[in-house]
Amino acid sequence: MLRYIIRRLMISIPLLILASFLCFGLTTAMGDPLGEWKLQKPRTPAEITAAYERTGYNDPFLERYANWAGDFVTGDWGESVVPGNAGRSVKEDIGKAFVVTFRLVIVAEIIALLLGMIVGVIGAVRQYSLFDYTATGISFAMFSMPLFCVALILKTGGISLNNWLESIGADRWIVTAGPPGDGFKGGFGEQFFQYTGAYILPTISLVVIQFALYSRFQRASMLDTLNADYVRTAQAKGISEARSIFRHAFRNALIPIVTVSSLNFGATIGGAVITETVFGWSGMGKFLVDAITKLEPFQVLGFMMVTAVFIIVFNLIADILYAFMDPRIRLD
């Protein structure tokens, strides 16, 4: 097993190199990060040369890539280059953004996964019941809505709720500008109040989409196993319905959803773009959108490396879990 993990990680090193090279090309193709700065007002040639010197854009493409890669391996992820905001350490900024996103995503993923599994299993066991129809209807509605609209509607609702709370003399609860930068303060009750106020809406908007996916997926795979011959055999041998559902059908129906959720989690680390943008969280998604808008090459590259490592690692975790739950699969 350990040898398998090491081999898989070794295979992903060339993938990362290739991806970073491609991404480097893409950031170059995106446009000149100094383009806007040059247009703002006339710059002297000396100023322009100095600014390009700092971005490294004077060197040929391959040399720039080699420089970046060499620095990256030694732990220097480069700095922001757009004048006015230049000199920010990419590594530090990504580190902060990552913590913000991770805290948000992990809670939402766990809630969505648990809810999705419960609803999916009940929906499959009681197929075509009122519960099944309701759950199916809700999940269909959920993944037919653009996420940013859901988030915007939630945000507007949150602001109305705040106004109403204020009108009855209570404190404003919902925070629509991200969690406080300097942490939550006060006693446990106050901290809980602040925490829920900041997290509840972004969490709901993330859960909505993921729940729809997981519950549909769990229902389908559970239906597959409930209809499988081995479950019918088990029932024919006379074991109880509960035992056939949980020991035979449910355990096998877990295999696909575990795979999907770990793949999904790896991707969500960089993908909560919409939720973060709407609710003003300075997490990974917002970091990427800002970096792309400003054409910051090293920020985009740093983002790609972090999310790539996450996707690769969670792909590996998915395969390992798969082999763990289905002994017929051998990893080697």
Binding site: L15, L16, L18, A19, L22, C23, L26, T27, A29, M30, G31, A124, Q127, F140, A141, F143, S144, M145, P146, L147, F148, C149, L152, I153, T156, A220, L223, D224, L226, N227, R232, Q235, A236, A267, G270, V273, I274, T277, L288, V289, I292, T293, L295, V300, F303, M304, T307, A308, I311, I312
Partner: protein, 318 residues
């Protein structure tokens, strides 16, 4: 049907009866069975009806509606009235005309994306699964590579790069075809993986071995023998890709990497009106409802097709 005494159809000549077992009419019957199962799926039929109405609304609506999307100068921010059932927007344009045009662009994008991503995904997935070896390795690693590179960066290159902009004739923005091509070119990964997995197991089946033994060429085996067995998955995925494309396009518009003026889309309309939710909610909610209607109806159609193709999902209590 249960008539045991007299056959409803006079016994035909034995030769034609025997032939009918082997000619193509049995294949047609399978499609009839699928069609009948689909028509019994109520939500799917409702989905088809809604989708057809939306398509008619989008592509023929402008011919019948009294105002054009270019008519400006109505009172701005007018509430919905009999004359302007969807009200007017911040420029004083009629929202019905705008919605017709937005729906049309959104549907155009979605159909191109579904076609393109299905085509690329099926061909590459089938090649990887059937050929194996270095072809499989190359295609699979390429998929890994595309999964790792954030798709927003590719979108940003297409939208902001002046070369692409001038090549497509849009001035600095992105026209709908660029967005559609982009979404299609990154959207084929999941269908390719699914098809590859199916082909991996299908190529070991006896009928493929038989075809190979008879000397059939690789394209013939793939297109005539293997892919017909995956047609259910392909159709369902293509349908769902339409719904996904509408939503993805809206998300791209929201972060400013989607369709730009002079083209439009439902996603762009929502994004432009995102701050109107409090004061002029209909400007936000009308395009929103249209997006939800498109993707909901398409999702229901996809679900109905899946049930029709795969009756195993219907649980029969023993």
């Amino acid at each position: 049907m249960t008539d045991l005494t007299t056959p409803a159809v006079p016994p035909a000549a034995p030769t034609t009866a025997d032939k009918s077992q082997f000619d193509s009419s049995s294949a047609r019957k399978q499609w009839q069975v699928i069609a009948r199962r689909f028509l019994r799926h109520r939500a799917a039929v409702v989905g088809v009806v809604i989708f057809v109405i939306l398509v008619l609304f989008a592509f023929l609506g402008s011919a019948f509606w009294q105002y054009s999307y270019t008519d400006l100068g109505f009172p701005r921010y007018q509430n919905p009235t009999a004359d302007h059932p969807f009200g007017t927007d911040r420029l004083g344009a009629d929202m019905v005309a705008q919605t017709i045009r937005g729906t049309q662009f959104s549907l155009q994008i979605a159909l191109v994306v579904a076609f393109l991503s299905t085509l690329i995904g099926v061909v590459l997935g089938a090649l990887a699964g059937y050929k194996g070896g270095w072809v499989d390795t190359a295609i699979s690693r390429f998929i890994d590579l595309l999964l790792v590179i954030p798709s927003f960066i590719i979108a940003a290159v297409l939208v902001r790069n002046s070369f692409v902009a001038s090549a497509t004739g849009s001035n600095g923005g992105s026209n709908w075809l660029v967005v559609a091509l982009y979404l299609g070119l990154i959207g084929w990964l999941s269908i390719a993986r699914v098809i590859r997995g199916m082909v991996l197991s299908l190529r070991e089946k006896e009928f493929v071995e038989a075809a190979r033994a008879l000397g059939a060429s690789t394209p013939r085996i793939i297109f005539r023998h293997i892919l017909p067995n995956t047609v259910d998955v392909i159709i369902v995925n293509a349908t769902l890709a339409v719904a996904q494309a509408v939503l993805l396009e809206a998300a791209l518009s929201f972060i400013g990497l989607g369709v730009h003026s002079p083209d439009t889309s439902l996603g762009l309309m929502i994004s432009l009106n995102k701050n109107e939710l409090n004061l002029h909610p209909w400007l936000f909610l009308i395009p929103f409802v249209f997006i939800v209607l498109i993707s909901l109806s398409v999702n229901f159609i996809g679900d109905g097709l899946r049930d029709a193709f795969d009756p195993r999902q219907k649980r029969v209590k023993a």
